[in-house]
Structure formats: C-alpha cells, structure tokens
C-alpha cells in the first residue's frame, strides 16, 4: 500500500510541477533573474505548496505513526553546519546554471526531453561522488580508530 501511495504522490507532484511551470527551465531562470525581466510566478508555487504543507506537517509532527501505521520519519538534524551551507550553495549555483532541480529533471525525462537525460546523468554522477566520498570518509575514520 505504501508503494501505491508513493506512486500517486509522485504523480501528483509531477503534475503540480508541470502546471506550475517548474518543469520549464526557461521559466525557472526567469524567476531567478532578478535584474532582467523578472517572472515572480515561482514565489506563488512555493506559497501554494507551503500553505498546504504547513497543515499536513503540523499534524504529522504530533504523530509517531502515519495513517498506514508506518513510523513518522521527520528529519531530526537542527545544526546549520558547513555541509548544509556548502552543499546548498553548490546546489544553488547548479540550479542557476540550468534552471533544473531534481524533481523537474525526472519530469523532463518523462516528457522525452533529451537535455533531461544529460542533466539527470550528471546529477546521478554528482550524487554517486557524494556516496563514494562518504564511504571513503567512513573508511578513513575507521582506520584512524583502529
């Protein structure tokens, strides 16, 4: 059942991105271009999403189990550390270069856009590099302890 919900959630999410214009990189870049002909639409996308999200998460925060009886897994980290800051800045630079973030990248592939594959392939490589560096870090850490 949770797999069906996840599929439907992804579907609604994707339709939302398409309707909102978030799957159109040119529109995303027009939002990020404060000094050019600025298109403020995406601010309203965030407002709509957060408006609904606030209601859902205020309920979720008070529960330890979901409606399907699964553990409520909300992030527990609260520290604003170097990783959060550096990672978010790198992400923002990449987002500003192409106007594509991870959700729209998947939608572009479904839409049959060749550029979506190029971006998505590179994004997976970036994520794999993170995994490798984390494993290398773990090994190094384990080596220091022994």
């Amino acid at each position: 059942m949770n797999v069906i919900i996840a599929f439907l959630s992804g579907l609604v999410f994707g339709v939302g991105l398409l309707l909102a214009g978030m799957a159109n990189p040119a529109k995303v870049l027009a939002f990020l271009d404060l000094a050019g002909a600025w298109d403020p639409s995406l601010a309203l996308v965030m407002a709509g999403a957060i408006g609904v999200g606030t209601i859902a998460f205020s309920w979720a925060k008070r529960r330890s189990l979901s409606l399907l009886g699964l553990a409520m897994q909300l992030p527990g980290a609260t520290d604003i550390d170097r990783r959060l800051i550096g990672g978010s800045l790198l992400f923002g630079v990449g987002w500003g270069l192409a106007g594509i973030c991870p959700g729209p990248a998947v939608v572009l592939i479904g839409a049959g856009v060749a550029e979506g594959w190029i971006f998505f392939g590179a994004m997976l490589a970036g994520m794999a590099a993170f995994e490798l560096s984390r494993r290398a870090g773990d090994l190094l850490h384990a080596g220091r302890r022994t």
Binding site: M1, I5, G10, L11, F13, G14, V15, L19, A20, G21, A26, K27, L29, L32, D33, A35, G36, A37, S41, L44, V45, G48, I50, G51, V52, G53, T54, A56, K61, S66, L70, P75, I80, R83, L84, S88, L89, L90, F91, G92, V93, G94, L97, A98, C101, P102, G103, A105, V106, V107, L108, G110, G112, F119, A122, A125, G126, M127, A128, F130
Partner: protein
C-alpha cells in the same frame, strides 16, 4: 525591478504549488516520509540502505516520470524551453547532485517540506540556494551575457 507581467502566471503557479503541497502531504500523512526528491533518489544509490527502502522511492520516481505522459494525453505538454548546452547541463547536473546530497535536500525537501515544518535548518538552506541561484543567473546573464 522590472516585472515581466506577460509571462507572470499566478493562477497555474498557485494551483501547481497546491498540488505539490498535496503530494507532500500524502507522502507524510500515509507513509511518514518527506517528499524530498534529492533524498529519494540518493536513497536508491545508497549501498547501506535498509531493506524495504527502495520500493517506495522507485514508485515515487515512477509517478514523477508518468506525470508528463498523463499531462500529454489529457491537456498536452506545457512549454518546455532549455537554452543550456550540453556542457552547461553536465556542470549544472554535477553541482546539483553533489550539492543536494551534501546539503541534505533540494527545493522540495528543504524548500517545501522543511519550510512547512518551520525548520530553521531548511530555512537557512533555502535562503542559501536561492541566493546562489540569483547570483549565478546575474553573473551568467548580466556579467557574461549568457552561456551556451
């Protein structure tokens, strides 16, 4: 500031945002999980992933993939325009992949879900990646006159 009123689409933007919020609400209310796309994809790549963690992630991604097929069948696909060349797309993809995993989230995980939870950490992340996005577009378009 010069607002581009002809391309400003407040109603679809708000409606699309509401749908994104509904999708995130579904995932957290029923499954107890955060709809953070970079985390969902990254979790598939993790070798130390606990069993049962891959299925819902792949199902969510399948839903995202099917969305444009559904849209194409019902209303036709909306405009999609990409000006970036292959080199820019590769560099951008690498930075987005690496950055979202180091920073533990992207526009959906920090921007939508994190802000909906009133997480100060996600607020910091969102302000930083938006600021970096604004500066990058400014540098590329107004200092260098565009990228291929």
């Amino acid at each position: 500031m010069n607002i581009d009123w002809t391309n400003f689409t407040p109603v679809p933007a708000l409606a699309g945002g509401v749908l994104i919020g509904v999708a995130a609400a579904m995932l957290v209310l029923f499954n107890g999980r955060i709809a953070g796309i970079s985390g969902i994809i990254g979790g598939v790549l993790q070798r130390s992933r606990p069993p049962g963690e891959a299925g819902w992630r792949l199902a969510f991604l399948a839903g995202l993939l099917v969305a444009p097929l559904l849209a194409a069948a019902v209303t036709g696909l909306p405009d999609i325009r990409i000006d970036a060349g292959a080199g820019t797309l590769i560099l951008a993809g690498l930075l987005v992949g690496l950055g979202t995993r180091y920073g533990s989230g992207c526009t959906s995980g920090h921007g939508v879900c994190g802000l909906s939870r009133f997480s100060p950490r996600s607020l910091a992340a969102t302000m930083l990646f938006m600021a970096a996005g604004f500066v990058t577009v400014y540098v590329v378009r107004h200092l260098f006159g565009g990228l291929g």
